[in-house]
Amino acid sequence: MKTQRSGRVHRQPTAMKNSEGRPVLMDYCLLPYDAEPAADALASTTMLTAGLAAMGALDAGEALCDRIVDELGPHRTVWGIGRDHVSGEITCELYFYRRPHSQDVDLALVDSLLAPTIELASTLNDSVPWHMLSVELGAGHFGGNWPAIARIYSDVTGLSYAVDGESLVLENRYDFHHPQRDIDAILQDLRASLHAPDTAASLRDRLPPQLLDCYHVCVAQKRTADAVYFSRIDGGAFGWFLAHCDWPELVQSTWRKHASRLEHVRWDVGFSYRRSGDSITITKSGWYASF
């Protein structure tokens, strides 16, 4: 990935070709979806650039992403831009997937990609099974101020763990549902949440109709909040989400400027919430794509 200044971000989207030669992009589960980019389409990393700029780590962030693509190749990495709605801090989280039945990515490799700028304070036994590993980076990490830690995810249990030093600390639980067939399970999970009242307003705020036209709904239980994610939403819904979650103007204006050239991208979004009155308050929101 290159910056807008280098001219590479505005290139044609880097799309894989499937056996029929059609372009394929990846969602945040690194599952492919068909895309039909227009002739002047932009890569989804256009918005990653905006996110890195908003967090104040544009140059360092781009350099890291370039190293990742150079090492792992394209279409191997999911990126996310998150914002803490309380502190206002914006972070970039990178998600590294293993190919099925392989250990082609390991912690040592991720550590080498982050070095020398970012120290990774995680140690992991090679025998620990995981299918995805992520590192969440704030401006402080890029500045070398403090080390980052890795998270690992198990697709068998749906659980994620922080790798804090040598300790595995249970963090989150994720359940993926079909938004239509599995609506009963979605409702059960959401209505049972201890972090939200079981009210009409709360359910509406956690299942916005603008986002429910999606590929999967993921319901997550976290340590101090619960969360819900919507995958492969279209550009109209993505624009609504950015405005609804009050993302900084730099991000929203970038979206408005380039939305018509990013129509081929399906975005993944989500937010964490806590109980507030008869509904919820969003504590963190994020959006995801891949490069």
Binding site: Y33, D34, V156, G158, D175, H177, H178, P179, Q180, R181, D182, I183, D184, A185, L187, Q188, R191, T199, A200, A201, L203, R204, L207, P209, Q210, L212, D213, C214, Y215, R232, D234, R266
Partner: protein, 460 residues
């Protein structure tokens, strides 16, 4: 969400999309600004051409178009009608705007509509305020208008005039209706349900019936012009549903057919057949569709009517929520939930499900006349008229995946749904029945009925 709005990359879980007939490509190419790509309705064509009005209804769906849209030019409509393929199967043409009687060319549009080879009916959508003049009505009848679809939003002046925001509108509308009735014209009432008239829907139905309406239609507000003022007009289902059911019952008593739009079908109870969210194929300026309101239903994917029922508008959901405890979808068990790794049964809100002791399932086949059903084995038929202790089987109707049975105990009635319990996932691999009945039913009656049915279903 509406399935038609789903991304094309969704690989599974959704039923086949209805295939709409394509509008002839040459027409589309000649008039891209007015001619749609597909027929959204198989036999009804709406032509919008008169974007002016003498009323100012609070819910107006074309407020932005009034005075700005030019409408479908007559030559475009003529070309459409003259095309050898375009009008095939179109049996009804609806002329609309705006208030079409304000347009001096209305008669010519009627004449063109009548040229359609299969056209049986030409309808105008009107507020009837200009129909009090009998010779004008006679002229329209003579040209071929045979249905007058009259907006009637109040049962008396204060309610009606508050909705139309024009003093004296009720008086003028009623004069028009009286003239239509006197000339023997077929007229249908059309009431938009808003906060200002929801308490008087039955009164409006009575007024329509008293004045010889051929049909009464009730359209919930369609929030194309979504703003704070309009949202204040959107009535919550807790208030709307009983009043609408009362109005529909009034119509039934008076022999008046009904249609209901944009109220979820499952909230219409015994009047569910009146539900129709379909939209006619429309010749209208393409800019009109840029503000199309979006609709969704949480249960669209598991409801047997998920493809034909729009659900609730997003403006409604934003205002009143998803109505998750009020909706009672007719479950489509062909849409089985995704097996999950947790083995947790979904809590099916909206019904009280008896799943504790599933009985073995062998067969469940309704006879053609739906009055007799074999359950569990040929030795345990359920048929209309049979008694199970204090319970009498009053009626049997097929539903997706099974039947629903009307059970009577004395004068009390309870519908019980009996379906193959494909929802059993982790803690029982034995297929069985799921018995369910509507939330809010009398518990004593429900227990008696369910126990009787369980005994029958458990017979070897």
């Amino acid at each position: 969400m509406r399935r038609s709005e789903r991304p094309a990359n969704d690989p599974g879980g959704t039923r086949a999309q209805p295939r709409h007939r394509q509008v002839p490509a040459d027409l589309r190419a000649r008039f891209p600004g007015h001619v749609p790509a597909i027929y959204t309705h198989p036999d009804t064509l709406l032509v919008a051409f008169a974007f002016e009005c003498n009323l100012a209804c609070t819910f107006c769906m074309v407020e932005d178009a009034l005075g700005s849209f030019a409408g479908t030019p007559l030559d475009v409509f003529e070309a459409f009608v003259a095309h050898p393929e375009a009008m095939r199967g179109i049996t009804r043409v609806i002329l609309s705007g705006g208030e079409v009687t304000l347009d001096e060319h209305l008669g010519r549009y009627v004449e063109v509509a009548r040229r359609g080879p299969d056209v049986e009916h030409v309808r105008i959508q009107t507020n009837a305020t200009r129909l009090s003049h009998a010779p004008y009505v006679d002229r329209l009848l003579g040209l071929g208008v045979d249905e007058f679809f009259v907006s009637l939003h109040g049962h008396e002046a204060s309610t009606c005039d508050a909705v139309t925001q024009r003093s004296g509108s009720f008086r003028n509308i009623m004069r028009g209706i009286e003239t239509l009735a006197a000339r023997g014209a077929t007229w249908l009432s059309n009431t938009c349900i808003v906060d200002r008239n929801v308490d008087h829907l039955a009164d409006i139905a009575t007024l329509a019936a008293d004045n010889g309406a051929a049909k009464a239609e009730f359209w919930n507000v369609w929030p194309r012009m979504d703003d704070a003022a309009l949202r204040s007009e959107i009535v919550g289902m807790q208030r709307l549903q009983p009043r609408l059911l009362d109005a529909l019952a009034t119509c039934e008593r008076r022999g008046l057919p009904t249609t209901v739009k944009w109220v979820p079908r499952c909230l219409l109870g015994p009047f569910a057949e009146a539900h129709d969210d379909s939209q006619p194929t429309a010749l209208i300026e393409s800019g009109y569709w840029q503000k199309l309101p979006r609709y969704s239903c949480l249960f669209a994917g598991v409801c047997a009517f998920g493809d034909s029922c729009a659900g609730l508008s997003h403006a409604y959901i934003d205002t009143h929520g998803w109505e998750v405890d009020r909706l009672c979808p007719e479950r489509d068990l062909t849409m089985a939930p995704t097996p999950d790794r947790r083995g947790v049964m979904a809590d099916r809100r909206g019904v009280m499900a008896d799943r504790a002791d599933p009985v073995p399932f062998r067969s469940l086949q309704a006879a053609d006349d739906a009055k007799d059903v074999s359950v569990a084995s040929a030795a345990a038929p359920v048929r209309v008229g049979m008694t199970l202790g204090p319970v009498e089987i009053v009626d049997i109707q097929p539903v997706a995946g099974g039947v629903r049975v009307a059970c009577g105990v004395g004068t009390d009635r309870l519908w019980v749904r009996i379906v193959e319990d494909t929802g059993q996932r982790a803690f029982s691999r034995v297929a069985g029945f799921a018995l369910s009945y509507e939330q809010g039913a009398d518990e004593t009656l429900a227990v008696a009925v369910v126990n009787a049915l369980r005994q029958l279903l458990a017979q070897p």
